[in-house]
């Protein structure tokens, strides 16, 4: 659609402005998708070019390199040794020896890779099924262990990562060797091992600082997540735990299950839970946000005394572990809890519970959902209040003074100054709190445990589905709380949670201006 010029835009009245902006917003949506696709395309094009450049560079390095460079194509670190970088050279060499050794030894890399039957539909992960065989010595059946699918997959995965690391290291040392050659040709001095060590506390200090945290993330987040993604394509569950029974590759079956809305399929349950999860995240985020801001404004209002006291009273709730306070609060609303009993005496509520044969408030789907949202306000307001206080104090006071001189009422000040300012500053944190509410395990699990059970769906994924279950609590029950432990379904749902979060984030990032540039706020 046509974009108005600034002057034309100023001519519009309020209603037209709203209409115009709405129209522009919706007209822009296809643009985002186009942009996204273009961006992805550009990304792959860039990757392609980068890969091509790499190969060209490797080729020219080999052709133009001297014999030391050429040798280092086969013997790691040779070039470094040749040019006197002893420590680097030995490390590279050691890496090569370890890698080749690991790949070739019996039950080494090649062994694990060959066992995996990678992505062959229907084939088992691992080749030898353990089983009972008769042992004449003990005169009884004994367990003869076979392969463990979990290990096969894990070691296979590690081997693949190792291979990539090998290729990367190979490239790295070839490159370094060539740089050494070039530097020597220019008659400059090559960095010694001592220089290398020195630079680790100076221009390479980031490597020193990041080494441990990044290794931690790689081992305890990246690797398990890749593993989890692989599990989504297998039949890994309690019955096929890999040790007593090998599990096998099933291709996209698990994903199809989720789209199966018939009996035994997960589609219905998934749809139901996803819609409640989104609803919950929306209400949980926005009730907290606006009420928390409201409380902050009351406390920070000029002339209100004991500011610190009010704040501390609220902040106390952050200090007390949630499982204590939430479990207690959930019991408060139980039929024999203090509040539950009190409310139960009110005729209308009593009637409602009786006619539906509900034992307590938690048994009514609608009431349970309302309760978790309300109690979450109790949980969340202190955080928002603190954040909002910080921002409110940062709003320049002269904005308020000048608006008062201009004749704005307190309400107008709120709408015209406070709210826009807050929204601008907290836009990004609103997004993160939305995403973290999608995965708010504690509040739901400790308050309602996901109950009451949804009788229309009954059970899905081996566990019963409740009206207040979020994807994350459903997943938790699936992986831990049930005898079947359907890890594969859990993995599929995990991937879908990721997709939901990613899509929402992308959209919100596109809508909120302040999320775009990190450096703008510095």
């Amino acid at each position: 659609m046509k974009k108005l010029t600034d002057l034309e835009y100023l001519k519009l009245n309020k209603f037209q402005v709203l209409l115009y902006n709405l129209k522009r917003f919706f007209c822009a949506i296809p643009g985002w998708f186009v942009n996204m696709i273009l961006a992805i395309g550009r990304f792959f094009a860039r990757c392609g070019i980068a890969i091509k450049d790499e190969f060209v560079d490797i080729g020219t390095t080999f052709i133009k390199g001297n014999w030391a460079v050429k040798t280092s194509f086969f013997i790691f670190g040779f070039g470094n040794l040749f040019y006197g970088q002893i420590a680097r050279g030995l490390l590279f060499l050691l890496f090569e020896i370890v890698f080749i050794g690991y790949m070739l030894v019996p039950s080494g890399g090649i062994y694990w890779l060959s066992k995996g039957n990678w992505f062959q539909n229907g084939a088992t992960v691992g080749t030898v099924q353990g089983g009972f065989t008769y042992d004449p010595i003990f005169d009884t059946d004994v367990w003869v262990p076979g392969d463990d699918s979990v290990k096969v997959m894990l070691y296979g995965l590690l081997t693949i990562i190792f291979i990539f690391a090998f290729i990367y290291t190979w490239r790295l040392q070839v490159k370094q060797c060539r740089i050494c050659m070039d530097i020597t040709a220019q008659g400059k001095k090559i960095k010694s091992s001592k220089d290398d060590l020195k630079s680790l506390v100076d221009d390479q200090f980031h490597k020193t600082l990041l080494a441990l945290p990044v290794i931690g993330i790689l081992l305890f987040t990246v690797l398990p997540i890749i593993y989890m993604i692989l599990v989504a394509f297998t039949s890994y569950d309690a019955a096929h735990d890999g040790y007593s029974n090998l599990f096998s590759w099933v291709g996209l079956d698990n994903f199809n299950d989720l789209l199966d809305f018939g009996n035994g399929g997960l589609g219905l349950a998934f749809g139901e839970i996803l819609s409640w999860t989104l609803m919950w995240a929306f209400f949980a985020t926005f009730t907290n946000y606006f009420l928390g801001m409201f409380v902050a404004m009351m406390i920070n209002k000029k002339g209100i005394k004991l500011k610190k006291f009010w704040r501390t009273a609220l902040v106390m709730t952050i200090a007390i572990p949630q499982f204590v306070s939430l479990l207690y609060v959930s019991k408060l609303f139980d039929s024999s809890g203090i509040i539950g009993e009190l409310l139960g005496k009110i005729p209308a509520i009593k009637n409602y519970l009786n006619t539906n044969h509900y034992f307590s408030l938690w048994d009514s789907p609608a009431v349970a959902r309302a309760l978790v949202i309300i109690i979450n306000i109790w949980v969340g307001i202190p955080y928002v209040m603190l954040q909002a206080t910080g921002i409110l104090m940062n709003i320049p006071a002269d904005l308020y003074e000048s608006s008062r001189v201009d004749g704005a009422s307190p309400f107008q000040q709120y709408v015209k100054i406070t709210l826009p300012y807050m929204l601008f500053v907290t836009g990004p944190s609103l997004l993160t709190s939305f995403v973290s509410n999608l995965n708010n395990f504690n509040v739901i699990y400790l308050l309602s445990g996901g109950n009451p059970i949804n009788t229309q769906i009954g059970s899905a994924g081996g566990v019963s589905v409740g009206h207040t279950d979020l994807l994350i609590t459903w997943l938790y029950k699936m992986a831990l709380g049930s005898a079947e432990s359907k890890y594969y379904t859990a993995s599929v749902i995990g991937i879908l949670i990721f997709v939901v979060c990613a899509v929402l984030s992308l959209i919100i990032y596109n809508v909120i201006p302040s999320t775009k540039n990190e450096e703008d706020f510095q």
Partner: protein
Amino acid sequence: MKTENKIKKSGLGARASRRISNTIIYIVLIAITLTWLFPFFGILMESFKVNEKGMDGELFPEVWGFDNYIRLFKETDFLKWFINTALMGIATAVFQTFFVLSMSYTLSRLRFKARKPLMNLMLILGMFPGFLTMILIYKVFSEAGLTMEMAPVGLVIVYCASSGMGYYISKGFFDTIPKTLDEAARVDGATRMQVFYKVIMPLSGSIVIYTILMGFMAPWGDFMLASYIIHENSAGMSVAVGMFEWLSKTMLNTNYTMFCAAGVIVAIPVTAVFLALQKYYVEGVTGGAVKG
């Protein structure tokens, strides 16, 4: 004449209306404070109840006594759980602080090629439900003997290993320290590491304490990961997992008041630490805008 009147009127009205609105605000604030503090009061009262009826729907005890507390230490493993959790808290605080500060400092102050990709990677990883990593980690830990009674060790590893991903708040803090300080120090002859511990760290007391506080509190509040790794082994339990058992349907009536007593004991050290360091917590959350 007319305008003069109007000004006078609204002048008087402003004072009166301010008084009214302030009164309303005080009433609302008192109501809010009572609501927010009610559960703590309730738990405290419940813990002094001496009866075997479990939940009785009364706020105040019929008979007062310390029976629940005595039972807690005599009949249950609560003390063990408490020590477990406290040790985990201390260990997590130490390691997590190191990880988080390294990560956030690097991302805030140093510029290197992998910086943006690393931040994007962590953003993407954060969108996966972290809980699912447990499928693999539990399996590996159980092979390595880091579950069940050794769960506290395993849990500390789990809490700390990926904690670098929670760099946002402290990075925000570091971002507010002017970059010219680093530059001046470097010109003055400091290596980047000296800049880190001679210039930036001394200026970052509040965020260090905030990070320590967050690390210390993590094991007290975590239920999800802990319950998975501990796998119902009493010797390795944290308070959260242990006490959760007490409120299962079958044990609710016998253990409810004891749960509250345990809750009081858990709440006291954590709240004490928290209130003592509240200033730093508030500074962390608000980026230093609120003092006190």
